[in-house]
């Protein structure tokens, strides 16, 4: 199945010994001229790239306190060294968070600090050479920016901040990653990551409407560009096509239908994902975020709700107000933006949704906390709502639920292995190996608790699991959307009486 060795699952999680260079390589496919230009970056490695890279480093140190403080503050205590899923899965020491940071920190020290300028050997500072740049490209694309290391660092040093800065520096000297940059170009011109134009999107949604009505005999709508609707739904474009994403989208539509609210998608802002974050580019991230602002204004909506997507929810919850606010033209009675899980949960609290959880009795569920939701955002008004709300929804929609081991969920959750711009076929080895810790935890509850499926609220997690579950002996359809469970269990008030429902279940 693969031209690399799939890691064996550990019975007890012992910390692996270092194996230097196991993941040394050329990194993902390099970006090409049209994508680079669309994002405002040079086509190819510029002539005086060393100088330009150091200038960009200065620029970023001056704009981001996180970068400056984190470059200075690491004491090399080693607390993070066993926390990264890529280190656990690959054993490559450069995948230890501190060593990954050091790739940039060593250069910073060499050129920007007294000790590194005059005593480079003493403090481990190195010159910026082509070899170092190659290591940057390779290893900063083996980081999913999941922030697990930052939870365990005594100073909160966040490797994601460093890897974002490193990618921004590389882009600025003409070394971009094809996967991310092509997608940012598409989202910035067409409106979504898939490059799906308005007619195709309209067609798809129409097809969905027919399919759902045929299935449940209720006219659940999937409106597009409907002016004057109350709610703008911004969802990852994978929700329009991919499995199990689309089943989640059907779930959102049923919830909106049952709530009796008017809602719409926008063809102009038909993407929740924002890969501008992955490449550390405030400008590109803002450019994409402003499309949502424009769509909300043009359509005259009152609220914005985001679909199931991890990093999108980070950008939405934590950054959208900064990037594209203020949102004073929307209804002040609702937070901007809201997560679809918050929306559904609020309706549940008000007693407006009814479920028949036995519809999901053929499954025993566990929940994968997606990293950006768990460690970089919130739901509801209490800290930790991002853990409680999705679980409350699953438990309302399903009778059988089991959590994975405590140190692998919530704020300690393991990344799926595909986040942060890694979800591309040219990084398959990184993805499969990086999934090992999550697969171990999942396998444990499968064996010990009879778990059959794993639910998630992130488009990247869903796509990644579909791909990697089979490598570890599980079915690719084990992964489900949270709102897919809602979709199965929700009882729509205007549904025709289903006569074979109650009789043959028990």
């Amino acid at each position: 199945m693969a031209d690399f060795e799939v890691p064996e699952l550990r019975k007890t999680p012992v910390i692996p010994k270092l194996e230097e260079g196991t993941m040394k390589g050329d990194g993902p496919f390099v970006s090409r001229a049209p994508f680079q230009e669309a994002l405002g970056y040079p086509d190819e490695l510029v002539d005086n790239w060393e100088e330009k890279a150091l200038e960009k480093l200065d620029d970023l140190r001056g704009r981001y306190r996180s970068l400056q403080v984190y470059l200075d503050s690491c004491v090399k205590c080693g607390a993070c060294t066993d926390k990264c899923h890529y280190y656990i899965g690959t054993h490559d020491p450069k995948n230890m968070p501190v060593a990954r940071q050091d790739l940039l920190r060593k250069v910073y020290r060499r050129y920007k600090t007294f000790a590194g300028k005059y005593f480079p050997k003493l403090v481990g500072a190195v010159d910026l050479t082509k070899e170092v740049l190659d290591d940057w490209y390779n290893y900063y694309h083996q980081c999913s920016q999941c922030r697990r290391c930052s939870v365990y660092c005594p100073y909160g040093i966040d490797t994601a901040e460093i890897s974002m800065a490193a990618r921004e520096i590389m882009d600025s000297i003409g070394v971009g990653q094809k996967y991310c940059n092509e997608i940012i170009m598409k989202a910035g011109t067409i409106g979504n990551n898939l490059g799906l134009p308005e007619p195709a999107l309209a067609d798809t949604l129409e097809g969905l409407e027919e399919e759902v009505e045929e299935d449940i005999e209720v006219p659940v709508k999937f409106p597009l560009d409907q002016k004057g609707a109350d709610i703008l739904l911004v969802t990852p474009s994978a929700d329009f096509f991919a499995e199990p994403h689309v089943d989640g989208l059907i779930g959102y539509a049923k919830v909106f239908h049952e709530a009796g609210v008017s809602w719409t998608l926008s063809s102009y802002a038909s993407e929740a994902a924002n890969f501008g974050m992955f490449i550390g580019s405030y400008e590109n991230m803002q450019r994409l975020a402003l499309r949502i602002r424009k769509a909300a204004k043009d359509l005259g909506v009152k609220r914005i709700v985001f679909g199931e997507c991890g990093h999108a929810w980070r950008v939405a919850y934590s950054f959208l107000n900064t990037l594209a606010g203020p949102w004073d033209f929307l209804d002040p009675n609702y937070p901007v933006p809201q997560h679809i899980c918050e929306f559904t949960y609020d309706l549940m609290q008000e007693g407006k949704l009814k479920f028949d959880p036995s519809e999901n009795d053929h499954m025993t569920l566990t929940f994968h906390d997606s990293c950006n939701v768990a460690r970089a955002s919130r739901m509801g008004d209490k800290p930790g709502g991002q853990f409680e709300i999705p679980r409350a929804i699953i438990k309302a929609a399903c009778n059988n639920y089991v959590d994975m081991p405590a140190d692998t969920i919530k704020e300690g959750t393991f990344c799926c292995g595909g986040g942060g711009g890694i979800l591309t076929d040219d990084l398959m080895e990184v993805r499969v190996k990086g999934a090992q810790p999550r697969m171990e935890a999942y396998t444990q509850v499968v064996k010990e608790n009879g778990v059959t499926n794993i639910a998630a609220i992130c488009a990247i997690c869903k796509s990644q699991f579909t791909k990697v579950l089979p490598y570890y002996g599980h079915g690719m359809t084990d992964i489900v959307s949270v709102h897919q469970l809602v979709s199965e269990a929700i009882i729509l008030s205007d549904a025709p009486k289903d006569d074979d429902d109650d009789n043959d279940e028990d």
């Binding site: 230890m96 000790a115 100073y155 934590s318 950054f319 107000n321 900064t322 704020e411």
Partner: protein, 251 residues
């Protein structure tokens, strides 16, 4: 006045000036560099009071490190606590008895804690040093300066411990010397080898503080993942440079 007394005085003035100026420059840099995005590691406090408590847990208890690795926590916390106790004990050597803090500093408890804390400091530092050599992951990330830093601290703690328990120095004369330094009056320094080693290493530590990883001490207070309030939806967060970009936004 002996050349030794003058040399050490100059050394302390230079080291002190560099420590203060260096820290001032770095703290100013940290304070003035904007944090353009809300990036607290969540779950995070939703109020400023909550942030103060979170920071206190980090700085006093090393809460994140405790979650992370019990061995590093034990050794690291032991060392830092001993450092604090030693600091309080040492205040006596630069403070006159009419200082308002004197009753506190001269308490037997404070003095004894500082005295026996020396062992905790040596054990803590020794443990960290051993880990750096023995654990392959930590060895991989260590530069020569990382070992030397621990040796420097061990040297300071060791020479201090020797003076406390084995070869006392003339503490009255030392106190006069230190109080003299504070009023720019260079007096006679006792020429005991452990004292001279102790003071020279402390001056060296002061010198390298603002140009080394010891910047973690001010750095932790400026860490956005730990010091930000989790309220991005309620309150718009905008850095000056981001606001400038927004000035020519069309919408």
């Amino acid at each position: 006045m002996s050349a030794l007394s003058i040399t050490y005085a100059v050394m302390f003035y230079v080291a002190g000036a560099i420590l203060i100026a260096g820290l001032f420059v770095k703290i100013k840099q940290y304070a003035q560099t904007p944090a353009p995005l809300k990036i607290p590691t969540t779950p995070a406090p939703v109020t400023q009071t909550g942030v103060v408590l979170r920071m206190a847990r980090e700085v006093v208890l090393f809460a994140s490190l405790f979650k992370s690795n019990k061995w590093i926590w034990v050794f690291g916390w032991m060392f830092h606590l001993a450092l604090l106790l030693a600091f309080f004990r040492h205040l006596r050597y630069g403070m006159s008895p009419d200082n308002i803090l004197w009753p506190l500093v001269s308490l037997d408890l404070v003095q004894a804690a500082g005295k026996y804390g020396a062992y905790a400091m040596l054990i803590g530092l020794g443990g960290l040093f051993l880990r750096r050599i023995v654990v392959d992951r930590v060895r991989y990330i260590s530069a020569p300066s990382d070992y030397l830093m621990l040796l420097l601290l061990l040297g300071i703690a060791g020479s201090g411990t020797m003076m406390t328990f084995v070869a006392h120095t003339d503490i009255v004369q030392l106190k006069a010397y230190m109080q003299g330094l504070l009023v720019l009056d260079i007096r006679e320094l006792p020429a005991d080898p452990f004292l001279l080693i102790h003071l020279a290493l402390v001056a060296l530590l002061m010198l390298i503080f603002p140009i080394s990883k010891l910047l973690h001490a001010p750095g932790v207070f400026f860490s956005p993942t730990r010091n930000q309030v989790d309220n991005p939806r309620e309150k718009r967060h905008l850095a000056p440079w981001a606001a400038a970009m927004e000035a020519d936004r069309q919408d």
